[in-house]
């Protein structure tokens, strides 16, 4: 990373509490522009909670979160909307609107937030659908007619509809067969280069971790165990790291 890197997401001393149960105790990390950044950790370590805090679905008990240069706990409704249009979110099971066709799912934000002519909106939506590797006729299917992998691709196309700078992925390869999972990883990497994206993903998939991620954090025992690249992990001698990776490898 050179000196000109810009931080896109910054977490500072985040504390998260569910009732008496403390999930994060002083979590800090920084995501730079152009990275594919992973949030890792065992089940229940609070990875998804961190992601939900970034996209403003949940609030931490204390700490400061900065996304795209804005402190998100003190924004006006119009600032929130402006921020939301700059990111795209892919949920674990796609979270497609079941009453809309694939084409409508992808174009729904374009119709709502832009004044583009409908021909251009349809062109954009069809291109995004092709871009994520779906066949052209899929545009007119409904979510109930799609397989799990296709739903994820449609969810990705929908997340990319407004040309976001920042893409959030919640377990993008879970539930996919190994070949499709690698294809999905390749797609993410290609899109990152083509569209200048910064990608944040929660993942369990060890192959994704090695193949797709530039940097990541591993959460352990309410704190950040390590932040860095795969090489940093190999050089580190931490006991918990071994269990984390061995558990996945075995």
């Amino acid at each position: 990373m050179n000196a000109t890197t810009k931080s896109i997401v910054e977490f500072k001393d985040i504390v998260t509490q569910f009732g008496p149960n403390r999930v994060h105790d002083g979590v800090s990390f920084t995501i730079n522009q152009g990275e594919i950044y992973g949030l890792l950790g065992g089940s229940g370590a609070g990875k998804s909670t961190l992601l939900r805090q970034m996209i403003m679905l949940q609030e931490p008990a204390s700490g400061i979160i900065t996304v795209l240069g804005q402190k998100i706990n003190s924004l006006s409704p119009s600032q929130i909307e402006a921020l939301q249009l700059q990111w795209g979110v892919l949920f674990q099971f796609g979270a497609l609107f079941s009453s809309l066709s694939v084409l409508e799912n992808v174009s729904v934000t374009l119709k709502e937030y832009t004044k583009l002519p409908i021909e251009v909106i349809n062109d954009i939506a069809h291109a995004k659908i092709k871009m994520v590797g779906l066949p052209p006729h899929a545009a007119y299917l409904y979510p109930s007619e799609l397989s799990g992998g296709m739903k994820k691709r449609v969810g990705l196309a929908r997340a990319l509809a407004m040309d976001p700078k920042l893409l959030f992925l919640d377990e993008p390869t879970s539930g996919l067969d190994p070949a499709s999972a690698r294809a999905f990883d390749r797609l993410i990497i290609e899109l990152k280069y083509m569209l200048n994206l910064t990608v944040v993903m929660v993942t369990h998939d060890l192959d994704s971790i090695e193949y797709a991620l530039d940097r990541f954090i591993i959460l352990h025992d309410k704190k950040v165990l390590i932040e860095g690249t795969m090489d940093d992990v190999h050089n580190s001698q931490h006991q918990a790291l071994d269990t984390f990776f061995n558990k996945h490898k075995s």
Binding site: T114, K115, P117, V120, I124, A127
Partner: protein, 373 residues
């Protein structure tokens, strides 16, 4: 943010297009309309598009450029572009690779005959499926009769409570208000004829025979048919029903039979409660408007209103319970795939159940009248 701009210079047989500003979706609509209005002259041989003063570009901008490039291609014009920033060019080429001529949507075009035909097939299919459903349940019921330990007594009690006991407040209140209104409306008329005492027959016969059973059945249809459809539908979507089947728990025996039995047992009790509440409403008005005391009212009820009117109301109850539970469960099993089919089938289930309750009531009324009861 500077808006997108475009200038078009025409020479003898070439065009020179220059774009500038931010080619973002906010202002690209006007560019699109501008370009759409201009026709490519047949004499035009070449087009040069200069992007060097374009600041920013998003997908909508790219789409407009691609759209017009394709038009130039179609009219055999040589097209060249210059000055595109490397970032833009990378995105542009990527989208050009992914641009497709959208295939038309062929899925939703039905002629009137197809619509009618499909509706007819759906209805007949639904009828066959419903008979099949009744058949399965009758068979399971028969098996349970042969081995009574197969009955799920706990589930029956649970549904008795949730569909019967918990329905009492709303059924009671509705019936009370209806009894009140019937008495109130007739009190004035009867007074004019000096036939005030007939308020007792007026209220009790109409409430016992028709009103209490109908009101109870319709309220229960709204409460329980929808609940059954939603419960079973969700179990179907989450594959709980498949899981039950693999463990040897026959879903109809576990889910449908207990609901049917519970509702058939609960309906007469609910209706009896509704009878009492309706009569109580009538008594209040009789006392307030006509000065008839409670004991006079009840004494006349004993002497003048035969018990058969209550029995006629109660005899319909199990039929109502059966049809409501059958329809609610049947629609629940029809739920497939997506979550919005739950909403769809819940609506259908309530509408069907309410309709069939009214239809059965009419049928029984005709039969009883023909029999002279």
């Amino acid at each position: 943010m500077s808006p997108a701009k475009i200038t078009i210079k025409k020479n003898d047989n070439s065009l020179h297009i220059t774009s500038s500003g931010d080619w973002f979706h906010q202002s690209i609509g006007t560019i699109y309309n501008q370009l759409k209005q201009f026709d490519i002259n047949p004499q035009t041989l070449s087009v040069t598009w200069d992007f060097s003063s374009m600041e920013k570009l998003d997908t909508s901008g790219i789409m407009v450029i691609i759209e017009f490039m394709r038009r130039f291609d179609a009219s055999r014009v040589t097209f060249t572009y210059v000055g595109m920033k490397p970032d833009h060019q990378r995105m542009f080429l990527f989208y050009r690779k992914n641009f497709i001529n959208a295939i038309p949507n062929t899925t939703n075009k039905n002629s009137i005959f197809q619509i009618i035909g499909k509706a007819f097939i759906n209805i007949s299919q639904g009828f066959i499926e419903f008979n099949h459903f009744i058949g399965i349940n009758a068979y399971q019921f028969w098996l349970s009769i042969l081995r009574p330990s197969l009955f799920r007594f706990k589930a029956i009690i649970k549904h008795l409570s949730s569909s019967g006991l918990q329905a009492l407040p709303i059924v009671g209140l509705t019936s009370f208000l209806v009894g009140l209104v019937i008495a109130y409306q007739s009190a004035e008329q009867l007074k004019q004829f000096g036939a005030s005492i007939f308020i007792v027959e007026m209220v009790s016969i109409s409430v016992f025979r028709e009103l209490a059973p109908m009101i109870s059945a319709i309220v229960v249809a709204g409460r329980s048919a929808s609940a059954y459809t939603a419960e079973i539908g969700i179990m179907k979507i989450t594959e709980e029903i498949d899981a039950m089947q693999t463990m040897g728990f026959e879903p109809h025996r576990f889910l449908v039979i207990p609901r049917i039995i519970a509702l058939m047992l609960a309906m007469p009790l609910i209706i009896f409660f509704a009878d009492m509440m309706g009569i109580f409403g009538g008594m209040l008005i009789a006392k307030g408007q006509l000065g008839l005391t409670f004991s006079e009212f009840i004494a006349r009820l004993h002497t003048e209103v035969p018990i058969k009117h209550i029995l006629i109301g109660l005899i319909k109850a199990p039929f109502f319970g059966l049809i409501i539970a059958l329809i609610g469960c049947f629609r629940g099993f029809q739920v497939t795939g997506s979550t919005d089919s739950i909403g769809k089938y819940t609506t259908i289930s309530v509408v069907n159940a309410s309709f069939w309750v009214i239809a059965i009531n009419a049928l029984i009324s005709v039969i009883l009248t023909e029999l002279g009861i």
